[in-house]
């Protein structure tokens, strides 16, 4: 049995939040699929609202508070990430972007990421493709083919077995697939690790 961790990042601002609801459902789908395959799964939920001030402080001071450090480590040290944002002005909200702005640019390389979003109308759905996906592309994360957008009609009109449910399950399986084919994560990288020695540093100037 392999131990796996999934980080669940929600940038919803209201309480309760449909963004968090979607994040929880996506995470549960991925977890259930991994458990079915014999893994032991821990979900680490990061509600960005709880870290909003610390995120801005990190942008200004260059370092995270202890609490934000723990949240960042939960994300960068996870085997897979579920990242869900409300769509504001045709893109992720500022809190979502600011949080990933203080994640080390190398920390998510090759990390499977399932992206999701919520919005006031289904016409916002492509923001996942033109805003959220490219951001994780820049970070060289592995963004799953299925992204999941939930509009108000998905919550109200549909049945429990409706189209949203099917997309959530498919996305959950895709995340499980990507997590499954990788060795367990080794935790967040150590930014102070010495990866060279002075002979190399001196030698590199010849090049």
């Amino acid at each position: 049995m392999t131990r796996r961790t999934l980080a669940v990042v929600s940038a919803g601002l209201s309480q309760p939040s449909s963004t968090r609801l979607l994040a929880d459902q996506l995470a549960a789908a991925a977890r259930d699929e991994l458990v079915r395959r014999g893994d032991e799964v821990e979900l680490r939920v990061v509600e960005l609202r709880d870290h909003a001030h610390d995120v801005v402080n990190n942008l200004l001071t260059g370092f995270p508070s202890t609490e934000l450090r723990a949240a960042l480590d939960a994300v960068t040290g996870a085997d897979g990430i579920v990242a869900v944002t409300p769509i504001f002005n045709a893109s992720y909200n500022g809190l979502f972007k600011s949080f990933f702005d203080v994640v080390d640019a190398q920390a998510l390389v090759d990390r499977p990421v399932l992206i999701g979003a919520t919005g006031g109308t289904a016409r916002h759905s492509l923001a996942l493709e033109h805003a959220v996906r490219p951001m994780f592309g820049y970070l060289r994360a592995v963004v799953l083919p299925t992204s999941v957008f939930a509009a108000p009609e998905d919550w109200s009109g549909g049945t429990a077995e409706g189209a949203l449910r099917a997309r959530i399950d498919r996305a959950g399986r895709e995340l499980a697939d990507q997590v499954d084919r990788r060795p367990p994560a080794t935790g967040p990288a150590d930014p102070f690790a010495l990866t060279t020695d002075f002979a190399q540093l001196l030698g590199s100037r010849e090049g």
Binding site: N57, L60, T61, F63, F192, L194, L202
Partner: protein, 378 residues
């Protein structure tokens, strides 16, 4: 143990009065602070080097030479000298000249500088920061130790049969510290040469300092300069004091809230918890500062930042009085009592000359900093 002040030389509006000092006033204030540092019994004054507003100290050796002429005992240093954008030949010449004029009361702290636009003004590129620091310092190190240098590198025109003049005082180069916040390569560089390592230790959490100093100590031993605890470590620190700690918090808060580096971000309370900043009574500063050695080990130099964020000169001089009268005498006594005999004090010109002479006479270990430090003052 050496104690002193370091200044970045910022020109900042006093948020309580709205008044901005002129460049002339700020430059003169820096000199007054240095003279006061000697008067109240501190050991070191270090100036930053900047080539962009709102900072004034673009020409450190001019200022330090002036201060040297007006002081007797004070050690003059930098925080930091830009090893990336200065020509190492000019650093070698300028600081050797200063060393002669100050009769050896000079050392330097190398730093890269983190302001991208400054680099191209001097023909460089910030993306080469580490490589510039490595190559330029390697050349500087040779220029101070070899009379005639043939040299070719990547960033500077080659040198053929070049002699940097004047030669260092007594043929012993100034001691060098390497300053860095979070680049392990710089800790490695300091360790390789057996130079000192200075952790900024003001705007960042203590964990950064702890990791960097730990790495430096381990690599210092790896390169055969002594045991890890014999490595030469300096720390920054930032304090604001009044006899009554509530008064200190009340008076400092507007300066904190509007400070260029961290203003409009975390609260004063959050920042004092997260970083080594201490705002309170002299006793609180003593207790916090003594705590530094618990995570970096016994160290050799403590510099305080006192004069930034628009604090008026009068207030800064009052801070220096408190530091010199109430804080440093206690710290000096306590740190010295705690330091084991095999841990050296910071090298001085006299101790480095003595170590060199001992090595030449075959009675010492050539270039052994621990031996040099053991002979140092204080």
């Amino acid at each position: 143990m050496q104690f002193g002040v370091f200044t970045v030389g910022d020109v900042t509006v006093d948020p309580t009065t709205g008044r901005e000092p002129t460049e002339h006033e700020r430059i003169k204030a820096m000199v007054t602070i240095a003279l006061k540092a000697e008067e109240v019994g501190l050991d070191v004054f270090a100036t930053g080097e900047h080539h962009n507003r709102p900072f004034v100290p673009s020409s450190p050796t001019t200022m330090l030479g002036h201060i040297a002429a007006r002081t007797e005992r004070l050690l003059l240093s930098t925080a930091t000298t830009l090893i990336t954008t200065n020509d190492p030949v000019k650093i070698a010449e300028d600081y050797a000249m200063l060393q002669h004029l100050a009769d050896g009361r000079v050392d330097l702290m190398m730093g890269r500088g983190n302001t991208g636009p400054v680099y191209p003004w001097f023909g460089q590129d910030i993306r080469n920061g580490i490589r510039l620091a490595v190559e330029n310092y390697e050349l500087l190190h040779r220029l101070w130790r070899e009379d005639v240098v043939d040299w070719q590198g990547k960033f500077r025109t080659p040198l053929q049969s070049f002699t940097s003049t004047p030669r260092p005082l007594d043929d012993v180069p100034p001691f060098v510290w390497h300053g860095s916040i979070r680049s392990p390569e710089i800790a490695e560089q300091a360790a390789y040469y057996g130079d000192g390592f200075f952790a900024n230790h003001i705007f960042w959490p203590k964990e950064h300092t702890q990791r960097m100093v730990g790495l430096y100590r381990q690599r210092f031993a790896h390169y055969g300069h002594g045991s890890p605890e014999q490595a030469i470590v300096g720390l920054g620190g930032q304090v604001f004091m009044r006899r009554n700690s509530q008064d200190a918090v009340r008076e400092f808060r507007p300066y904190f809230d509007n400070a260029p580096v961290y203003g409009h971000g975390p609260s004063l309370e959050e920042f004092t918890r997260q970083t080594p900043l201490t705002v309170g009574s002299p006793q609180q500063v003593i207790d916090r500062t003594l705590g530094f050695r618990e995570y970096v080990g016994d160290y050799q130099r403590q510099l305080f930042l006192l004069d930034h964020a628009g604090l008026p000169l009068k207030t800064v001089l009052e801070q220096l009085d408190l530091l010199g009268e109430e804080v440093v005498p206690v710290l000096r006594k306590e740190f010295d009592a705690l330091r084991p005999a095999h841990v050296p004090v910071a090298p001085t010109h006299a101790s480095l000359v003595a170590a060199r002479d001992a090595a030449l006479a075959g009675t010492g270990d050539a270039g052994d900093l621990a031996a040099a430090g053991a002979e140092g003052v204080r």
